[in-house]
Symmetry: C2
Amino acid sequence: MKAHYVRPLDLRHGRVDLNHGAGGRAMAQLIDELFARAFANDWLAQGNDGAVLPAPAAGERLVLATDAHVVSPLFFPGGDIGSLAMHGTVNDVAVMGARPLYLTASFILEEGFPLADLARIVQSMAAASRSAGVPVVTGDTKVVEQGKGDGVFISTTGLGALPAGRELGGALARPGDAVLVSGSMGEHGMAILAQRESLSFESAIVSDSAALHGLVDALLAAVPAVHVLRDPTRGGLATTLNEIARQSGVGMQLDEAAIPVHPQVAAACELLGLDPFYLANEGKLVVVCAADAADAALAALRTHPLGSDAARIGTVTADPQYFVQARTAFGGQRMLDWLSGEPLPRIC
Amino acid sequence: MKAHYVRPLDLRHGRVDLNHGAGGRAMAQLIDELFARAFANDWLAQGNDGAVLPAPAAGERLVLATDAHVVSPLFFPGGDIGSLAMHGTVNDVAVMGARPLYLTASFILEEGFPLADLARIVQSMAAASRSAGVPVVTGDTKVVEQGKGDGVFISTTGLGALPAGRELGGALARPGDAVLVSGSMGEHGMAILAQRESLSFESAIVSDSAALHGLVDALLAAVPAVHVLRDPTRGGLATTLNEIARQSGVGMQLDEAAIPVHPQVAAACELLGLDPFYLANEGKLVVVCAADAADAALAALRTHPLGSDAARIGTVTADPQYFVQARTAFGGQRMLDWLSGEPLPRIC
């Protein structure tokens, strides 16, 4: 049964007000005329406090992953908080080796935020959802007073199905394993920083934000026995490798010259005194697999448009101190420690 | 493998800083020393980007529900944002008729927020999780700059298992059905308002925040064919009944004198010019069932401590305008429309 509202929502000049989160008719209208229309699917149309979903196939386990998204600015070259919230959580499910099935979304809106911007974000998120084939099946909307939020925050949770027998995890790297990346490092982080600092380059640096489950499928079809998959987001490649090293109780020896970095990102890093290996990625994989499977993994990654610049960047070592080190272009060694010092907040 | 930090987290005098959300060592320490310790379970200990969970039993479907929690103040009589975030989402899963299995939690923290307060919230949430028997299996933490948030926001997503053949939903109310509530209306909303406005009463009005899955179990064991279950949160009883009326294409006729309201809540409403039927509840059920099952349903609710004040409050009617009406104590009729006018923001 559809409700009738006196006037349609003014998506051109209207603004978010406290009524949009208060549970009454204004909230119902925002949900009907914006969210439900953009994300249209049968589960959302159930209109209950939760979505009823079919069970996974026999033998499959479930994977749950969640992320809060607070990126600032909300719009950036290559995406916005809506597409990022979709991709970020689809990727967290995909790197567990699972097939992403459904997403939930909860929005925290700031009073006064333009409905036109909200509509742009929701439509971008809906487009990313359709393109990934992962529907947003239930959601929630809250509104906080002006000055108590920052436009829009979006938390997404993903549910996926993990095939029987598939075991991936950060604790499964073994000395001798090969370390691969699916492409160049640092584009998302630098796109956000450049936008935030109003830096202009000859051509804009574009976020790599993308849904990675297709790339993961291509990889695991070729090399089912991948040991670790991760998407190197906050803290970048260096921090992600340190997490894996700590979880697995191993070290890593990288070859810095082998790690792909877009020349514009390298130049911007030089200018800003930043290290691209600490910048966030939102559409890249780190892969750890047995050394004898590395060539097949690399070939599989390169067959997919999102993996065309895939590279083998190093080796897992036996190291009781779990150090991640890189041979520099000049033949020296440098430590890639965890991210520390100046934080780069609100990158995702 | 455990990491070693130079100094333990200062949970007494420390404050949230941007490093706690930046993905590096400070974030890892916050997760290790606060979140992982409080929520300790095997799934969280997997330490990956998502949690791997067993599939539900054969024949069961899945239920997903999500909520953003932005309640202000963060601490109130009867709970805090931590226990509320747990109960709110467990209840959204339970009112679908499903057994709540797992929760995810994403935190948006404001720079400068005292770690002692955060620890209190996380420990309260963990206690609510243990008491409900629903573990927090994966999570995320982000930090926003001072003045861009409001202490703590928590989004939770619940996954539940729905037994074969069970069908509950807002669209299933039929003319002639009985309408029941599990207890008195408006305590949560009034507890928050009283705290916010520094109202003092002879004794504090305490939020009814509670996990309802045990009460739902008791009810459905006695009356498997319940048509609709809802927890009347934002917008209160009146708004929830209007939602059901709209979804089912029916009206409702209530008996105002039959709707339980705690005398202190009634007095405070009188004082503030508020209607208790529009105040949020966080530990109450609305039940719609066949009229001939109403006595059994009421008896089942009353056997449970959370349902001791359960009451039959009205009847579903055939009404092409979907009106929710109440006979007043003076014999008149009044319309209970959707919540409109002054919003009561950030009640949950």
